[in-house]
Symmetry: C2
Subunit: 193 residues, 2 copies
């Protein structure tokens, strides 16, 4: 027996609105009342789906933080793979809801176990994709295995997040070029000593 389409429609519409509110006004304004006004869905229905404010907010977090699958490119050379992958991650920060919602998740994670899980899983996913790129480069012999890969991965991902979430600086092509250049130069000069 299939799920009632009304349930699905209500959940979807409500979380769309909750997500929008979360991005534009912050977690403070994600309430049953606000979502009701934004969607036309009655408050009582919303309470039936999410019994309290916290569960509504968690649902909004969870929905938006679901990591989209990152297509992988590991055929080398390193600079090319890395630039391509980081462009995808950068694009996600610049142009998808994730970029706008991430700050709220970061904050929630400091007091909320659920949000912490969301963000650490998300990051694990990001790290894995960068790791694959370096592993492939090692496999091709382009860099040697004694490169401090873990540190490089962290720097590779940390920089765009820091720039965007904390400094509110632009993430553009020029910046990305410099960033990739530096990462590659570290990988190469630390390689095979």
């Amino acid at each position: 027996m299939k799920e009632d389409p009304r349930l699905i429609a209500t959940r979807q519409a409500a979380l769309d609105a909750a997500q929008k509110i979360l991005m534009e006004e912050g977690v403070l304004h994600v309430t049953h009342g606000a979502v009701s006004k934004a969607t036309g869905i009655s408050r009582s229905t919303l309470y039936r789906h999410w019994p309290d404010a916290r569960s509504l907010r968690d649902a909004a977090f969870r929905r938006i933080a679901t990591p989209p699958n990152i297509p992988s490119k590991t055929d080398g050379p390193l600079r090319s793979d890395l630039r391509w992958l980081l462009a995808v991650l950068m694009g996600a920060l610049n142009d998808t809801p994730w970029g706008q919602i991430a700050p709220q998740v970061v904050a929630a994670a400091s007091t909320d176990e659920e949000a912490r899980l969301v963000i650490t899983e998300f990051m694990k996913d990001r790290f894995a994709s960068v790791e694959a790129v370096f592993a492939a480069a090692v496999g091709r012999g382009e860099i040697t295995a004694d490169v401090p890969v873990d540190q490089l991965i962290e720097l590779a991902v940390a920089a765009p997040y820091f720039r965007k979430l904390i400094r509110h600086e632009a993430l553009d092509e020029d910046w990305l070029d410099q960033h990739v250049d530096l990462l590659c130069s570290i990988a190469k000069t630390n390689s095979g000593q």
Copy 2:
């Protein structure tokens, strides 16, 4: 004419409590009512000081994010100066309220101009102190001027923030050693080409 000590005492006690609530329970719980209950100060007095919830929260942000003066050490060598300075910044993230409050400020900054100012000014300060270390190294001739200093500064600061705020990983001495090593190796290998 001096300011009435009662004003000062009330502000201080209230913001102490607001800050504590902000750290432990998140921005959602910083309200006049909660602060009143925590301090014994009457709600009406709090409203007289901060007319609405927003101004109360902003005040709490502003108070905790005020950058403590960072003592500078730039007498070299680079590795030593850098390690010393980053240890201070790391300590601030680990052991002061700033480390716990920063996530909330990051989130607020995405929808609140005031919070954005707070954090960008704070970071400007941090960056300046790291810059001084590199500038001194250049001045001593330890590294040359063509090192991509701006990128290095960003990586130097981004890494600990990313680790703490986003990944919730430990910031310990071992990690710091590795981090400083890598930064120095970048600076040296890019130097004097």
